[in-house]
C-alpha cells in the first residue's frame, strides 16, 4: 500500500486498502465452532430434526418471499436473513418460551422461530389482513407478543433500550424471565446502545444483548465503522462479553444456554457478539458493490444449514431420503403460504383507524 503523504488531511477509515494482494477480503473472522456433539449439549435427535426443519423453513420462506417481491406481489423494504438462520434457531431452542425476544428489521427468521406461521408471515409481507400484524407492520414489523416475540423494529439501535425495558419489567415482577435483544453491527455505534449498556449494568437488568455481526452495516464494512472489536464494548460497561460462531447452530445454542443461565442466576446483562454472514444484500435494493463474489462464496462454504445436514448424515441420525422428506414438507408449507397470502383479503379500509389507541372509541383528529 502506498505510503500516504504526511501533510495530506485524511479521514479514510482504517482498513481501506489494508487487504493483502490477492487475499479474499473477509467481512468477519469467525471463531472456531464448538466441538461438542449434540448429546453433550443436551440436544435430542428430535431436537436436531426440529432445528433443521426450522432453519430450512426460514430459508425457503425468504427465498419464496424474494421471488414474490420480484414479481411485484408486495412492496416496501425486504431485508433477508438468509445465512443467519443458526442464530435465531440456536437462541430460541436455548431460551425458555416465555423469555422475551426483540429484534431489528431483519426479523422474519425470528418471527418464524417464535411461532408466527408461514401463512401469517407471508400474509404480513403481502400486507394482507390475516398477517401477524394485520398487515399494519410489513416486513420490518413482524410480532407475536403472546409468544414473547415483541417484534422487529425499524430504527437502527432504537429498540435496544426497549429490550432493556423488557428485562426491567421482568426484574420488577421477579418472574424469572430474561430478555434477549438482537441488533445488527450497524447499531453498535448508536448512542442508544451505550446508554442502555450503562443503565443495564447499573440496574443489573437480566438482559442478553446480542449483535448479529454479519460484517456489513448496509454497505459499510464493520472495520470501517467501529474502532474496536465490537465485543470489547462490553468491558467499558463492566459487562461480560463473548464472541460466538453464528454459522453453527450448536455454537449459538451452547453459548445462549450458558449465557441465559448466567443472566438468570445473577440478574446482570451479558453482551454477545455473534459473527455471521448474510448472503443477500442489505435489502432487495442493494447492488452489493462493496463485496466480492469470492468473499460470499467463502462464507457459503460454512453454511449453517448445510453444516447441520452434514452432521445429521454423518451421525446417521437422518438418511438422505428423510432429509428430503423434511425439505419437501417445508417447501409445500411455504408454497401454501404464498397461495394463502396471494388469495387473502387486504384489510378493510376502516381498519386504517383500528389499533391506534387502547380504548374502543379512539379519538382521531380528522
Amino acid at each position: 500500500m502506498a505510503k500516504k503523504k504526511t501533510d495530506e488531511v485524511n479521514f479514510a477509515p482504517r482498513g481501506i486498502g489494508d487487504e493483502k494482494d490477492g487475499a479474499v477480503q473477509k467481512g468477519v473472522d469467525l471463531p472456531s465452532p464448538t466441538k461438542k456433539k449434540h448429546k453433550s449439549l443436551g440436544l435430542s435427535e428430535d431436537d436436531l430434526k426440529a432445528m433443521y426443519e426450522q432453519m430450512y423453513l426460514q430459508r425457503r420462506f425468504e427465498e419464496r418471499a424474494m421471488q414474490q417481491y420480484q414479481k411485484g406481489k408486495f412492496g416496501g423494504f425486504l431485508h433477508l436473513y438468509i445465512g443467519q438462520e443458526a442464530i435465531s434457531t440456536g437462541t430460541v431452542y436455548a431460551l425458555n418460551d416465555d423469555d422475551d425476544i426483540i429484534t431489528a428489521y431483519r426479523d422474519h427468521g425470528w418471527g418464524l422461530c417464535r411461532g408466527i406461521t408461514p401463512k401469517e408471515g407471508m400474509a404480513e409481507l403481502f400486507g394482507k389482513a390475516p398477517g401477524c400484524s394485520k398487515g399494519k407492520g410489513g416486513s420490518m414489523h413482524f410480532a407475536k407478543t403472546e409468544n414473547h416475540f415483541w417484534g422487529g423494529y425499524g430504527i437502527v439501535g432504537g429498540h435496544i433500550p426497549i429490550g432493556g425495558g423488557l428485562a426491567f419489567a421482568n426484574k420488577y415482577n421477579q418472574n424469572g424471565r430474561i430478555s434477549a435483544t438482537f441488533f445488527g453491527d450497524g447499531a453498535v455505534d448508536q448512542g442508544a446502545l451505550h446508554e442502555t449498556f450503562n443503565i443495564a449494568n447499573l440496574w443489573k437488568l437480566p438482559a442478553i444483548f446480542a449483535v448479529e455481526n454479519n460484517g456489513y452495516s448496509m454497505g459499510t464494512a464493520a472495520r470501517r465503522h467501529t474502532v474496536t472489536e465490537i465485543v470489547d464494548r462490553a468491558k467499558a460497561y463492566g459487562m461480560k462479553g463473548k464472541v460466538v460462531n453464528g454459522m453453527d447452530v450448536f455454537s449459538v445454542y451452547e453459548a445462549m444456554k450458558e449465557v441465559a443461565e448466567d443472566v438468570r442466576k445473577n440478574s446482570e446483562p451479558y453482551f454477545l457478539e455473534i459473527r455471521t454472514y448474510r448472503y443477500r444484500g442489505h435489502s432487495m435494493s442493494d447492488p452489493q458493490k462493496y463485496r466480492t463474489k469470492e468473499e460470499l462464496e467463502e462464507y457459503q462454504k460454512v453454511d449453517p444449514i448445510e453444516r447441520l445436514k452434514t452432521y445429521l448424515k454423518d451421525e446417521k441420525i437422518l438418511k438422505d431420503s428423510e432429509i428430503q422428506e423434511i425439505e419437501d414438507k417445508v417447501e409445500d408449507e411455504v408454497l401454501e403460504a404464498v397461495d394463502f397470502a396471494d388469495n387473502a383479503d387486504f384489510p378493510e379500509e376502516s381498519a386504517l383507524y383500528d389499533d391506534m389507541f387502547a380504548e374502543d372509541d379512539p379519538y382521531f383528529h380528522k
Partner: protein, 327 residues
C-alpha cells in the same frame, strides 16, 4: 378544597396512583435521592423505596426507552424529564417507538406510559431551555398531550394519564411549580383527558389559552373587564385530544376568538385551532381569528429581550382589541 402548590398536586397524583397500583413506578433524573429537581417527587423514595422510585443517569434516550420496554411488558412507568427540552434526546423513543408499537403490530402491544416534566420557558434560561413542545408532540398520531395550567387540573389529569393505556405526554411549567391553587379533596379525583373547561365566562370574545398562557389570558381579561370587554376563557387543558366542541360552542356565543399559545407560530397549536374554527364555525365569526404566540425567534437571554419575546397580557389585549375592532 385544599390549597396546594402545583408541585404538591403533581406529587399527590403520583403518590395516590403508586399506592393504588403496584405496577406504577417513577424514574428520571434526580427523582429519588434528591427528591426531584423541582421537588415534584418529594418523599416518594422514603415511601416506596428504590424499586419504584428510580434515579437514572443523564441518559434520556436510554431511560425513556427502558420505560417504553417496561410499559410493553406490563408495567405502568412514569418517566420524568428534568425538562422537555432535554426530552428531545429521547424523541426517538417517544415518537418512533411509544406512539407506533401498538399500531404497527396490529394492536398486539399496549403502551401505558406517562412522560412528564416541565415544558416551555422559565425566566431567562436562554434558547436551549425555553421551548414549548406540546404542539410538536401533538403532531404525531398515537400520543396524548396535556399541558395543565392549575394545580387542580394537574392532579386530576395526571391521575387519568397514569391510568391511560396509551402514551401520554404530561407537561408542566417550570415557573408554575410554586403556584398555589385550590385542589379538590374528593377521594380519587379524576379529570377525564380530552375535556376542556370554561374558566371564565364572557360574552364578547373567546380566548383559548392553556398552560402558562392561561394565566396571561386571565390577567388580560381582568384588564379588559375594566374597559367593559367581557372575555370568555377556555382552557382546553389537553392539547390532544382536543375539546373542539367546547371551543366552537363558545365562539357561537361570542363570535370572536383569540388563541394564546406559548409555542412558536408556524404549524403550531394556535394555527391548528385557527383552522378548525374557520372550518367549523366560519359563519359565526365577526372577525378573523387572531393568535398570540412567541415570535418565530429563539429565546433570548437578556431580560428586556426575553420579556418582549414571551407573550404578554398586553399582546393579548391588543389581539382582543383587534378582533373586537376597538382600535
Amino acid at each position: 378544597m385544599a390549597e396546594l402548590q402545583f408541585r404538591e398536586a403533581i406529587k399527590e397524583a403520583i403518590d395516590e396512583e403508586m399506592a393504588r397500583e403496584e405496577k406504577v413506578f417513577i424514574m428520571g433524573e434526580e427523582v429519588a435521592e434528591y427528591n426531584g429537581a423541582y421537588k415534584a417527587t418529594e418523599g416518594l423514595l422514603d415511601k416506596y423505596g428504590y424499586k419504584r422510585v428510580i434515579d437514572t443517569p443523564i441518559s434520556e434516550l436510554g431511560f425513556a426507552g427502558i420505560g417504553v420496554g417496561a410499559a410493553m411488558n406490563g408495567l405502568r412507568p412514569i418517566v420524568e424529564f428534568m425538562t422537555f427540552n432535554f426530552a428531545v434526546l429521547a424523541a426517538d423513543q417517544i415518537i418512533n417507538h411509544a406512539s407506533k408499537a401498538g399500531y404497527m403490530t396490529g394492536g398486539q402491544i399496549s403502551m401505558p406510559i406517562v412522560f412528564r416534566g416541565p415544558n416551555a420557558s422559565a425566566g431567562q434560561l436562554g434558547a436551549t431551555h425555553s421551548v414549548a413542545y406540546d404542539s410538536m408532540y401533538a403532531h404525531f398520531p398515537g400520543l396524548k398531550v396535556i399541558y395543565t395550567s392549575e394545580p387542580d387540573d394537574a392532579k386530576g389529569l395526571l391521575k387519568s394519564a397514569i391510568r391511560d393505556d396509551n402514551p401520554v405526554l404530561f407537561m408542566e411549567s417550570e415557573q408554575m411549580y410554586g403556584m398555589k391553587g385550590e385542589v379538590s379533596d374528593e377521594e380519587d379525583y379524576i379529570i377525564p383527558i380530552g375535556k376542556g373547561k370554561i374558566k371564565r365566562e364572557g360574552s364578547d370574545v373567546t380566548v383559548v389559552a392553556h398552560g402558562k398562557m392561561y394565566h396571561v389570558a386571565k390577567q388580560a381579561a381582568a384588564q379588559l373587564e375594566k374597559d367593559g370587554v367581557e372575555v370568555e376563557i377556555i382552557d382546553p387543558r389537553t392539547v390532544k385530544p382536543l375539546d373542539l366542541p367546547l371551543i366552537i360552542e363558545s365562539i357561537k356565543k361570542t363570535n370572536r376568538c383569540v388563541v394564546v399559545d406559548e409555542a412558536h407560530p408556524f404549524a403550531g397549536f394556535a394555527a391548528e385551532i385557527g383552522f378548525l374554527i374557520q372550518r367549523e364555525a366560519f359563519d359565526y365569526l365577526d372577525a378573523p381569528v387572531q393568535r398570540v404566540t412567541l415570535p418565530d425567534v429563539n429565546a433570548p437571554f437578556s431580560k428586556p429581550l426575553f420579556d418582549a419575546w414571551l407573550p404578554s397580557a398586553k399582546n393579548v389585549i391588543d389581539a382582543v382589541n383587534q378582533v373586537t375592532y376597538r382600535n
